[in-house]
């Protein structure tokens, strides 16, 4: 019991240190600027993160810290830290995205608050580490991997990819073709897609619905003829084109239809993670919890597909035990 308690205490201390470091960083450089993390910087970050996790995993027999990072004793304090910061976020009034925090510490812009970001980063690091310890093609590992790899992929792709989301507005007059669009700061972008507006109309049944009859051209020669309505976007080459609004007919140009073009290149990975987690949740629902002795027995028979949650197999368990023992002997 005591050796477990020590492992958990270390996890708690680690998180406290992380919070202190995050606070120092916050006071030194101010809130994290997510928009600075656009491609290719986020690609570099992803590469460093994945390489780091794999290297730490490979060195785990030599470095006790890395071995410990894949244990529950490290994971539970990390989850607790994230939960506490999330509750803190829940009880403070947050400023809109992109605004400066309303107080000197930065907790009203929690998503850019360094301790918050570092806590979730640490948790994802641990999830990545523990995923690798179970990355073997066995049936009993499937639910575990769906849950852990799923949240890892969804969260990493979602956060690193957030700076790459492009939301642009394009105004096209009837009979014209347009390939330029403006972003939220009214900067003009030339796009690899062009929209030709044949006709804009408003249907009156039962509620007014705008619709645009368009042809979309892409740089590599794709031509799509379709109708775009409110809530019925058109997807072309990674762009989603929404009917956004329109401008009243003017004598010299006719109707002008306004489209919103959204590109989120990391979205397929976020969806992959989400669907893995959904499958993992189904496995969690049908899986039967057993106590550890029964589980080990089931594992040896090789037909037990239960325990989708953190169940370290016997090898990892013995690693953990020897790890904790060595901590105990070295410290006492």
């Amino acid at each position: 019991m005591r050796k477990n308690a020590w492992g958990m205490t270390r996890g708690g201390l680690f998180c406290c240190g992380l919070m202190a470091a995050g606070m120092a960083l916050q006071l030194a450089v101010g809130p994290l600027r997510w928009d600075a993390l656009a491609w290719p910087l986020n690609g570099v970050c992803l590469f460093v993160l994945l390489t780091g996790i794999v290297l730490m995993h490979l060195c785990r027999r030599k470095v006790r810290l890395f071995r410990w990072m894949a244990t529950l004793q490290a994971g539970i304090p990390a989850m607790l830290t994230c939960a506490m910061l999330t509750v803190l976020m829940g009880v403070t009034r947050q400023v809109p995205t992109g605004h400066a925090p309303a107080e000197p510490f930065g907790i009203t812009a929690m998503l850019s608050f360094w301790p918050f970001v570092l806590a979730y980063f640490w948790l994802m690091l641990l999830v990545g580490m523990v995923t690798l310890t179970r990355l073997r093609p066995r049936w009993r590992n499937v639910p575990f991997l769906l849950n852990h790899l799923g949240i890892f992929i969804a969260l990493v792709a979602g956060t690193l990819g957030s700076a790459d989301v492009q939301t642009l507005r394009m105004m096209v007059a009837e009979g014209k073709t347009e390939w330029r669009a403006v972003d939220v700061r009214y900067r003009v972008h030339e796009l690899p897609v062009a929209i030709e507006l044949h006709d804009f109309s408003i249907e009156q049944e039962p509620m007014p619905v705008f619709k645009s009859d368009v042809t979309v051209y892409t740089k590599n020669g794709l031509v799509v003829r379709d109708t775009i309505r409110v809530n019925k976007p058109l997807a072309v080459r990674g762009w989603k084109i929404y009917q956004y609004s329109y401008e009243e007919s003017r004598p010299e140009v006719g109707d002008i239809s306004v489209f919103e073009l959204v590109r989120d290149p990391w979205l397929p990975y976020v969806y992959l993670g989400i669907f893995m987690m959904l499958a993992g949740a189904v496995a969690l629902f049908f899986g039967r919890e057993k106590d550890d002795s029964q589980q080990a027995e089931g594992f040896d028979k090789g037909h037990n597909v239960s325990s989708p949650v953190l169940a370290h197999n016997s090898q990892e368990r013995s690693e953990l035990t020897s790890d904790s023992n060595s901590i105990l002997t070295s410290k006492t």
């Binding site: 019991m1 477990n4 958990m8 529950l72 004793q73 994971g75 539970i76 989850m79 607790l80 994230c82 939960a83 999330t86 509750v87 976020m89 829940g90 009880v91 403070t92 009034r93 947050q94 929690m110 998503l111 979602g158 939301t167 929404y242 959204v262 976020v270 989400i274 987690m277 959904l278 993992g280 949740a281 189904v282 969690l284 629902f285 899986g287 919890e289 106590d291 550890d292 949650v309 953190l310 169940a311």
Partner: protein, 259 residues
């Protein structure tokens, strides 16, 4: 067919409650499981048909006001109670679920002002019903798990296997509900997670239940802290469910306020 309304709730509720009370009483007395299950199913059928008829007369699933959500809660609590009973044969579990269900039915009967409110257009989505039903299941299973945890803390009776199981099932529902919400949000608002107060509390609640499940693996002998933590998880869930409606920091911030 005559349209059904909130005015007919008392009749259906009375019949269902009588059947559920009979089932609870019989199971407390140690009567035959088959008879208990049949009575409980009878109650569920009556209450379920009220929800079905309401669905029919409203023309959409009754999931859009606080009153309508409480209908589902009154329905799912006895259902989860019945599932728990038929799997683990706890004699008292139906009494608990019936009692809770009664509370929600009484709220609906005594506070008619929560019944009918205008609905937001964004809620008119095929994702809406699964999202809320799954969350209702999550609330109900974790609710029963919390009651069992309280029971064990006060009466020192070992209910741990059932608590763990219900929490695991509840967590799987929470996960599915949260992810359905994310997929729906992407469809409707173009963003799968905007950290509005409801989502923030949903994330916190999810993390808290994750901690319980991992803690049970890590320190299986430390039961009391686990059970106390489970009570805290449920407080968090209440915050997520209705608490944020009264939270000053969340006023006017949430896309989820439909009450």
């Amino acid at each position: 067919m005559q349209m059904i309304s909130w005015n007919d709730l008392w009749l259906f509720a009375l019949i269902s409650l009588l059947l559920w009370v009979a089932a609870s009483w019989l199971s407390l007395r140690g009567g035959s499981r088959k008879a208990v299950c049949l009575l409980a199913i009878g109650g569920l059928t009556v209450f379920g048909s009220y929800i079905g008829l309401m669905w029919h007369s409203l023309g959409h699933p009754p999931l859009r006001t606080m009153g309508e959500t409480r209908l589902w809660y009154s329905f799912f609590l006895p259902l989860v109670g019945l599932i728990t009973y038929s799997r683990w044969h706890y004699r008292w579990v139906l009494s608990f679920s019936t009692m809770l269900s009664t509370v929600f039915i009484c709220i609906n009967l005594l506070k008619p002002e929560i019944h009918d409110k205008a609905l937001m257009p964004a809620l008119q989505s095929p994702w809406f019903a699964p999202h809320v039903i799954v969350y209702m299941f999550a609330y109900a299973t974790t609710g029963v798990a919390t009651l069992l945890a309280l029971w064990q803390l006060c009466r020192k009776q070992d209910q741990l296997a059932a608590i763990d199981n219900l929490t695991r099932v509840g967590l799987s529902f929470l996960t599915v509900g949260m992810l359905f919400g994310a997929l729906w949000a992407k469809e409707a608002w173009g963003n799968y997670w905007t950290w509005d107060p409801k989502e923030t509390w949903a994330a916190a609640t999810w993390l808290c239940y994750l901690i319980y499940i991992h803690w049970r693996r890590c320190r299986p002998a430390a039961v009391r802290p686990a059970l106390l933590w489970l009570l805290l998880c449920f407080v968090c869930l209440q915050m997520c469910w209705w608490g944020i409606n009264y939270l000053p920091s969340a006023q006017g911030m949430s896309a989820h306020t439909y009450s």
